[in-house]
Amino acid sequence: MSHAFVEVQQAAKRFPGATKTAPPLTVFENVSFQLQKGEFVCIIGHSGCGKSTIMNALAGLDQFSDGSMVMEGKEINGPGLERGVVFQNYSLLPWLTTLENVRFGVRARWKNWSEREVTEHSMKYLELVGLKEVVDRKPSQLSGGMRQRVSIARAFATKPKLLLLDEPFGALDALTRGVIQDELVKIWTQDQQTVFMITHDVDEAILLADRIFLMTNGPEARIAEAVEIDLPRPRNRAEIIKHPHFYTIRNYLVDFLVNRSGDLRVQENEPQGMRYPPSINPVNLDAAVDAPTHPPEATPAAGHEEKLVKFTPKEIRHG
C-alpha cells in the first residue's frame, strides 16, 4: 500500500499578527494524516483548534498556509465534485424546493443526464433519508432535522469519493440527531464512501467512526492521537452502549478532551519533520497503563451514570 486515499502533510494555518511587529498567530501546525478509502474518520477538538479550517481546506474552500493535500495522487487545489460537503448550517438554497435542492447537486454532477434521470436519482436519495413526502416544500417549511437530511441527501446523491461533514448535527436536538445518525450510517453502509467528519459529540464519533482524530487546543494545535474504534459493525445507538469496550473508549476520549487536550500542547515540543499521529486503541491500553479515570470494565448493567466522566458536548464548545 503505497499511497493513502487522502494524504495531508505538514499542514499549518497562520494568521498575520494584529500589528506589523506582532508574531503571526498559528492556529495549527504540522498536521499530517492519511485517510484510507472507505474509512469513516471523525475529528474532535475544542473550538479554535482549526478543525473547520482543515475541513474547508479539504473541501477546497480554504487554504493552508503551509503543507500539502493529495487525494488519489492529485493535489487538492480548489473545490471539486469528487468531494462533497455537508455544512453545519445546511446551506440549502432557500428559493428551491427540497427536490430541486437535491437536483441541483445531481444536475451539476451528471450534466448529460435527462431531466427524468436527475429527478429519479434525486428522489432515491430523498427516500433514503425519509423525505419522500415533503419534496415540494421549501427549506423554510422544513424543521432543522429535515433540512439537514436534505443536505445529506444532496451530498450523498452526487456520490463524491470523499464526503466532508462539518458538524452536521451540531444544531439539532438529541433525538433528531440520533435518528439522522442512523440514517447516515445506513447510506454510508450502502455507498461505502470515505467520510471525514467534524463533531463535538463523543458518542456520535464512537457510533460512526473507524478512527477518531483527537486535536489539542489551539492556538498551535495539532492532531495528538488517532484513536481506533474497533467496535463491530453494523452499529446502532441502542446496541453499541452494551458493548464491553464502549465505555473504555468513551472515557478515554472524554479524558483527553477534559484533561489532556490543553496540556499536551504545552508539554510536548514537537520535533521537526513529518509525523503521523500515533495510533491508539484504548481497549488495548489496559488498566495497567496510565488510564487516569478509566473504570474497570464491567457489565453494562445498572450504574452507567456514575462511571461516566461528567461531560456534555456543550462543555467542549465553551471550554
Binding site: G60, L61, G80, N89, L93
Partner: protein, 286 residues
C-alpha cells in the same frame, strides 16, 4: 398571510374598509361644502367667464367641488382615446404617451443597471472604482439633465426618455450591487463545491439570491420614474399626462387638472402593484 382567514383579522379588514369609506365621504363632503359655487341670486344676469372662474360674486376663487370632478371623470373615462388635435386628446392617449416614455427609459435603465450592478456587486475593484462617480451623479435632480439632453439629443421626446433613464438607473444599480454583494457566502460555496461555472453561479445562485433586493430597486425606480415623467412632460410639452396637467392649467380648467392628478395617482399605484406582484415570485424565506 395565513392568518387573514381568522375571524379577528377579517373583522379588522372590515373595520378598515368602513373607516376608509367614512374618511372618503367626510373628506369629499368638506371639500364639496367649502367649494361649492354659490347659486346666483337676484338679476345680475349672466356671469362673465372670469366671474364664473372666480366663483361668481365671491371674492376668493374656489376649487372645483368633487361632484364636478366626478362628472368630468365620467366624461373623460367614457371616451379616453379620442384625438381632436394637438391640444385635445383623450386621457387614455396622454397616459399612453407617458407610460411609453416611462417604460422605455426604465427598461433601458434596467438593461444597463442590472448587469452593471452585478459587476459592481461581485468585484470590489469595480465597486471602489465606480463608487465616486455614482455618489456624485446620483443626487443630481433628473430634470437638471434636461437642458443638456435637449442640446445633445435635439429631440424633446428622446430627452424625456433620457431623463427617465437617468433617474431610474440609480436605485436599480445600487440595489443590484447591494443584493449581489450580500449573497450569503454559504450559497456561493455550494456553487463552488458543485463546480459550477461563473456564469452558472451567477444565474443559478447569485441572481435568485439577490432577486428580491433587485426587485426592490426596480420598484423604487418605477416610482421615481413616474414622479419625474410628469415634471419632464411639463417641460417638453406636446403630449403626455404631465403636459396635459399643465395644458389644462393654462386652459384654466381646474376640474381637469384635479381629474388628471387623480389619474396620475391611480396609474402610479398600478405600476407599483404590478412590480409588487412580480416580487412575490422571487421572494424566498430563509
Amino acid at each position: 398571510m395565513d392568518r387573514t382567514t381568522t375571524e379577528w383579522n377579517f373583522s379588522l379588514n372590515v373595520r378598515a374598509s368602513v373607516l376608509a369609506v367614512v374618511l372618503l365621504v367626510l373628506g369629499l363632503g368638506i371639500w364639496e361644502g367649502l367649494n361649492h359655487v354659490p347659486l346666483l341670486t337676484g338679476g345680475a344676469g349672466e356671469l362673465s367667464e372670469y366671474e364664473q372662474l372666480m366663483a361668481g360674486a365671491n371674492e376668493t376663487a374656489k376649487v372645483p367641488p368633487p361632484s364636478e370632478v366626478l362628472v368630468r371623470a365620467w366624461e373623460e373615462l367614457s371616451n379616453p382615446f379620442y384625438d381632436a388635435g394637438p391640444n385635445d386628446k383623450g386621457i387614455g392617449i396622454q397616459l399612453g404617451y407617458s407610460l411609453y416614455r416611462v417604460l422605455t427609459g426604465y427598461l433601458l435603465a434596467a438593461a444597463i443597471a442590472i448587469p452593471l450592478g452585478f459587476l459592481i456587486g461581485m468585484s470590489p475593484l469595480m465597486y471602489k472604482a465606480l463608487n465616486p462617480y455614482i455618489q456624485v451623479l446620483r443626487p443630481i435632480s433628473p430634470l437638471a439633465w434636461m437642458p443638456l439632453a435637449l442640446f445633445i439629443i435635439q429631440d424633446s421626446e428622446a430627452s424625456a426618455i433620457f431623463v427617465i433613464f437617468i433617474c431610474s438607473i440609480w436605485p436599480m444599480l445600487l440595489n443590484t450591487a447591494f443584493g449581489v454583494a450580500g449573497v450569503r457566502e454559504d450559497w456561493v460555496n455550494v456553487a463552488r463545491t458543485h463546480e459550477l461555472s461563473s456564469l452558472k453561479t451567477a444565474f443559478k445562485v447569485i441572481l435568485p439570491a439577490a432577486a428580491p433586493t433587485i426587485l426592490t430597486g426596480m420598484r423604487i425606480s418605477i416610482g421615481i420614474a413616474w414622479l419625474v415623467i410628469v415634471a419632464a412632460e411639463m417641460l417638453v410639452g406636446g403630449t403626455g399626462i404631465g403636459y396635459y396637467v399643465w395644458n389644462e392649467w393654462n386652459n384654466l380648467d381646474l376640474t381637469s387638472v384635479i381629474f388628471s392628478i387623480l389619474m396620475i395617482g391611480v396609474v402610479g399605484m398600478l405600476l407599483d402593484m404590478s412590480l409588487a406582484y412580480v416580487t412575490r415570485f422571487v421572494t424566498y424565506a430563509e
